[in-house]
């Protein structure tokens, strides 16, 4: 059993390949968003627990370290959103040729960077109210 090669077969991949990078990024951002779901539910439960509990939760949620987490979550959402749409298009059987796939990978990168910048800008200008 232990002789069998087990995933992740990190040593056999060329890590610089865009196919590997886009795939592993989709997975990593998905995991980050799973963690974000916990934050969302924590926030919802705090609201449901009344004004005093919500004030206490806001004190926790507006800690400096968590600001970095929000930035990561916005970036993860921006990427996972467009990479997911790319996967949905693939599932219809379209865009699977190498040149099309390279083009869509570039499109996903550009779109997610633009969305990320837009979201950060909007979050900062939405009344200066980090949670």
């Amino acid at each position: 059993m232990t002789e069998r090669p087990l995933s992740p077969h990190l040593s056999v991949y060329r890590m610089s390949r865009y196919t590997l990078l886009t795939s592993i990024l989709n997975r990593a951002t998905g995991l980050a968003l799973s963690a974000g779901l916990i934050l969302l539910v924590y926030w919802l439960v705090a609201i449901a627990s009344g004004p005093a509990a919500y004030r206490a939760a806001r004190a926790v949620l507006s800690r400096g370290e968590l600001k970095a987490v929000y930035v990561i979550l916005l970036a993860a959402f921006s990427y996972h959103f467009f990479a997911g749409i790319r996967h949905l298009i693939w599932d219809t059987g379209h865009g699977l040729e190498r040149t099309q796939s390279q083009r869509s990978a570039a499109l996903v990168a550009i779109a997610s960077i633009l969305l990320f910048i837009g979201l950060v800008w909007w979050a900062l200008h939405a009344g200066g109210r980090a949670p």
Binding site: S34, V41, I47, A48, R58, L88, D91
Partner: protein, 128 residues
């Protein structure tokens, strides 16, 4: 007439025709999450403030509560499907894999249940 038992006939016969189920619900939930996440981000960033009164008033609106509940359920479902695949790929050994998968499932159910109940409580005016 065959003397083979009904179980003997189907053992090793392969597909029970639900092989694409995981794939399909992953796609179904991702399609649903496109409008739901866009709605959530736009709504949240459009709120004039994020104090308790503003948020409860927002969740108190029928469609806000409906979409929020759908977002939490669909998000937890999609997350569970995704994390499951990662565990299946990277956690080796039957025992630890089964245990991790069970914990992942339980955890997502708890998160979804807590989220939905919290939204319902606020929507029904129980958080004032």
């Amino acid at each position: 007439m065959s003397l083979r038992s009904p179980l003997g006939k189907v053992l090793g016969q392969g597909s029970a025709k639900d092989g694409v189920h995981h794939w399909w619900v992953q796609r179904l939930s991702s399609v649903a999450l496109v409008p739901l996440t866009v709605w959530f981000v736009v709504s949240l960033l459009s709120l004039p403030a994020i104090d308790h009164a503003t948020i409860t008033a927002w969740i108190g609106q029928l469609w806000s509560a409906v979409f929020l509940i759908l977002l939490v359920i669909t998000g937890a479902w999609h997350s569970q499907l995704g994390v499951r695949v990662v565990v299946e790929d990277y956690v080796h050994g039957h025992g630890s894999k089964a245990l991790t998968l069970a914990l992942v499932t339980f955890f997502h159910v708890v998160v979804a249940a807590a989220g939905v109940l919290a939204i319902l409580k606020v929507a029904l005016g129980g958080a004032r």
